[in-house]
Symmetry: C4
Subunit: 200 residues, 4 copies
């Protein structure tokens, strides 16, 4: 329940910044590893009004555990895949203006290169601003199992990536804990906006 409270608090904060408007975006956090149980924001809910009791618990096939009337997000399979590939404790997905714009602007390059910013040091394991973060851009799709596969491959090819963009869709990032995942989203959103506004 504490996990659900945490997800609701992060949702409210991100919604306030315009990163989860129109019921977009979704948030998850690991409740238990074996077998996997994931606290997951429900589909179609106003993220500015998300409450802890609305948060679902799902298994590793994105099926609801227990008796809950909510519907898991279509993107639950993507969260599950990221949790497994990165041993993540939480996964956050935002739709911001700047991540949307850059996910298209740099699509032909296959990703966004971010380097030289002090802000990068907030990403787990990064010790200096002399770091190059490559944020892969994956073509958007409505075929979730296929998209989960593509994400799995991409994460394997880019072992150091702290997030990725779905084209004209949004940003995914994660962390060992919910706090770390939130930190990563804030840092990547900041850097995408900074890069976006310089027009490079």
């Amino acid at each position: 329940m504490e996990i659900a409270v945490g997800l609701a608090a992060v949702a409210k904060g991100f919604y306030g910044r315009g990163w989860l408007w129109g019921t977009s975006g979704n948030l998850s956090a690991v409740v238990q590893r074996e077998p996997l149980r994931l606290a997951m924001s429900p589909s179609g809910v106003d993220k500015g009004e998300l409450t802890a009791p609305q948060v679902l618990e799902i298994d590793d096939h994105a099926r609801i555990v227990g008796a809950h009337k909510g519907k898991p997000s279509d993107e639950s399979l993507l969260h599950i895949r990221i949790v497994k590939e990165r041993s993540a404790g939480a996964v956050l997905h935002t739709h911001s203006i700047w991540n949307t714009i850059l996910s298209d602007r740099y699509a032909a390059d296959g990703g966004v290169k971010i380097e030289g910013y002090e802000m990068l040091k907030g990403l787990q394991g990064v010790r200096t601003h002399e770091h190059t973060e490559w944020l892969p851009i994956i073509e958007n799709s409505q075929d979730m199992p296929a998209l989960a596969e593509t994400i799995g491959k991409t994460l394997n090819e880019h072992k150091d990536a702290h997030g990725f963009l779905l084209r004209s869709h949004g940003l995914y990032s994660w962390g060992e804990t919910l706090a770390q995942a939130k930190r990563h989203i804030e840092i990547l959103e900041f850097l995408l906006e900074a890069k976006g506004r310089t027009g490079v």
Copy 2:
């Protein structure tokens, strides 16, 4: 009364984002279909301080029902027309920076084409990002009955549109419920800003 509370809450939120400044914009929701009774924000009120008791009830000629000292918005006729054309349960009208700018930038094209964004899936009935939303732009006017007619025609010509722009004026959207109308506004405002900032 619950409807009025809901309208006041949406007004406060939208005002906070700068979409209803200077007493601009207006909000309505259907109280009863036959005969039509519409809860409607009053004219000339600061939307950041709108209270439920200030919300008016009007009939399908935009006349106040009951004893209320408020004045219905001049644009009540537009709300009534939209409610009828779309069988809408709520109609919201915002004045944001970006909807104002784009309503003029694309006026010569007669509308704004928005396509390829995942965010589009939040619009009722849209199942994929491979959707083209055409947001018609209607020339602004102070002749409300005539404008209501033009809006009626435009909605008939563009059966799939989830909203429209009045030139150098603002955005109208609607939904089966107030929550859906709010969601549509957030999505369209997001997409207009994203498009506006890419400069295409």
Copy 3:
């Protein structure tokens, strides 16, 4: 006292939008006409934390009435002049990013022309979007009596203006009441940003 509470509330709201940062800007409202008594925000106070008891009362020479330890804003003379020229009940002065930028961008033209926006209808006496608002730009100065004179002349030359800009400094607007002055500021700030972002 109610007036001071109102000024503090407006200050808090405007500060939250970044229009009164760094103790910039000032706010006043008429307490009494004959002889003139003006409630005035004190100099050097954080507008996000302005409280009603901090609000000063000054006479028409900008001298404090009663025993108050605060210091009136240097720009009190400008407020007094505007109150007299326009029979205003309240005067508000904001330092926003966009009013600062446009006050310089259009300085060579002597003013900013704003026309065709529905939002203009929120300005007192304006009945249609087919209105041209001319916002005069006055060269900035630290000589307050001289600046008050220039403002007096400018207001006489532009009888219909609802506000003016001081170059690289900020916006002044006013109203019959505090609520109207607030509405005017919101409308002019909105229009300056809309115009500023279109780059015309």
Copy 4:
């Protein structure tokens, strides 16, 4: 303790504007001059949730005074150096989008020149808008003792500077009191954004 409460309040406000995202930035205030005791925000803490008890007390070698489990920010040495060079009572360091962008845009010039804005008058000792503020830009580094030396030299070369930028990193400013330091940050952030948006 009152100082820690003040730092937490400023942190919360700045975080809300996106100046301290992702645990970035840090804040300090002098508790005692001889020997120096500095209240300092801890490393790795979410600035939107910083509480007074989390604030550390450090000496002039950036060692924690007393029994506290927190870790002082890596940049504590920079704060200490600024406190000594400027006899400052408080030092604030922000990571905003605009200070980040301008710290790189003007790096080849060695600084940002800001002149002619009324807003400059909010900087301590500045009496007119006809003032030129030179904000030095210092190359970023992870070698804190060396960076502290460079900062010391820069502050000596630019005796009148009210702040400086670390390239692709952020803004430092200070004041005799925490309130003055906050005012300086707000003013410099405002001016950097105004300059940044004019594109000069």
